[in-house]
Amino acid sequence: MTADRRASWFKGVLDLLVLASLTDGESYGYEIAKRLGAAGFGQIKGGTLYPVLNRLEEAGLVAAEFRATEKGPGRRYYSLTPAGRETLSEQGELWLAFDDSVREVLARAGVR
């Protein structure tokens, strides 16, 4: 039950988390997964992450550039677009307001 609920929350904010993880500069899929994992979200499977990256790219919120590497087949590097920054700011504020409301109700119910 707890794991299901966490998974559900995570699914709801993964796009925001991905956008947020690109604010410091471009990155690629595996690195984004590692960063989010290190932030406490556990192991993020490629099957979860790449469809989100695809959707963000289709929505014009991130730009992707494929670069060949000396070793291996090459990677797609993702960077935030101006629209992505704007969306992150707007949606991030909405999430924080939602979080405040949840905290307030829980505090009133004695959950600390």
Binding site: Y30, K45, Y50, P51, F66, G72, P73, G74, R76
Partner: protein
């Protein structure tokens, strides 16, 4: 060109990625997009050291996640040269009717939330279409992939059924084009005699049961109570039946 032909096995080094690339190509992703996607995922696997199926999930599911546009094509807006029509039928006759209307040039684009086949017909160059229905009670893993090589494309789902369409041009060539088409049917609902017979049988059985109990007990309220009990007991399967007859757009 098949997108996967642009890439040989040595490049991906993984049957999973090869299958994924082939499927993405079938779903309509451009060859170059398929190439860089597969290369990127290959790099991901090399770095995390994971097993493809565990990291990305089943090929079919992952391919559809990566090609959402292919999964759910945008409905074609009706224009001057296109007419649209929505209709529904019970599952005793839907296959027969799909065949008939397909031969009149109606192409099913999707099944809407009210369970209707949403159809369009190109008036400038009407084409014949053919359909097939598949039972997907155990999921549709691999089904689309098996049918795609024969030209079948998913066009709607409803709980346990999935419908696929294919232009008759695939088998008839230019002969599949219609020189003239009949007017759109005025009806929108097609319920078969078998459907009504099943319904009448259920009502008759219920009435007879209630009457028998009332006569034996010499008390009309006993019959009414028995009938009410039967109705309550039948609520679950009837609900399931109604759900089975209500087509829904999935995904979904």
């Amino acid at each position: 060109m098949n997108a996967m032909n642009a890439m040989n096995a040595a490049e991906t080094g993984s049957p999973y990625l090869e299958a994924l690339g082939a499927r993405l190509g079938e779903l309509g992703l451009p060859a170059e997009h398929v190439r860089v996607t597969v290369a990127d995922l290959g790099a991901h696997l090399a770095e995390c050291g994971g097993v493809p199926e565990e990291e990305f999930g089943p090929v079919e599911e992952f391919a559809r996640e990566l090609a959402p546009g292919a999964t759910r094509p945008a409905p074609t807006p009706a224009g001057p040269g296109v007419e649209t029509w929505r209709w529904t039928a019970d599952t005793f006759v839907d296959e027969e009717l799909l065949g008939r209307f397909g031969d009149e040039g109606w192409e099913v684009e999707r099944v809407d939330a009210l369970g209707r086949f949403v159809c369009r017909r190109d008036l400038a160059r009407p084409q014949r279409w053919e359909y097939r229905r598949e039972l997907v009670t155990r999921g549709r893993e691999g089904l689309d992939g098996r049918l795609a090589p024969d030209g079948w494309e998913a066009c709607g789902n409803w709980v346990v059924y999935a419908w696929f369409k294919r232009p008759r041009a695939a088998s008839l060539g230019p002969a599949a084009e219609l020189s003239a088409v009949p007017a759109p049917p005025s009806r929108h609902t097609f319920l078969s005699h078998r459907f009504y017979a099943a319904l009448a049988l259920a009502v008759a059985a219920l009435t007879a049961s209630g009457a028998t109990v009332a006569l034996r007990a010499d008390d009309a309220t006993s019959g009414l109570g028995f009938t009410t009990g039967l109705l309550a007991g039948a609520a679950a399967p009837v609900t399931a039946l109604l759900l089975t007859h209500r087509r829904r757009d999935r995904r979904p």
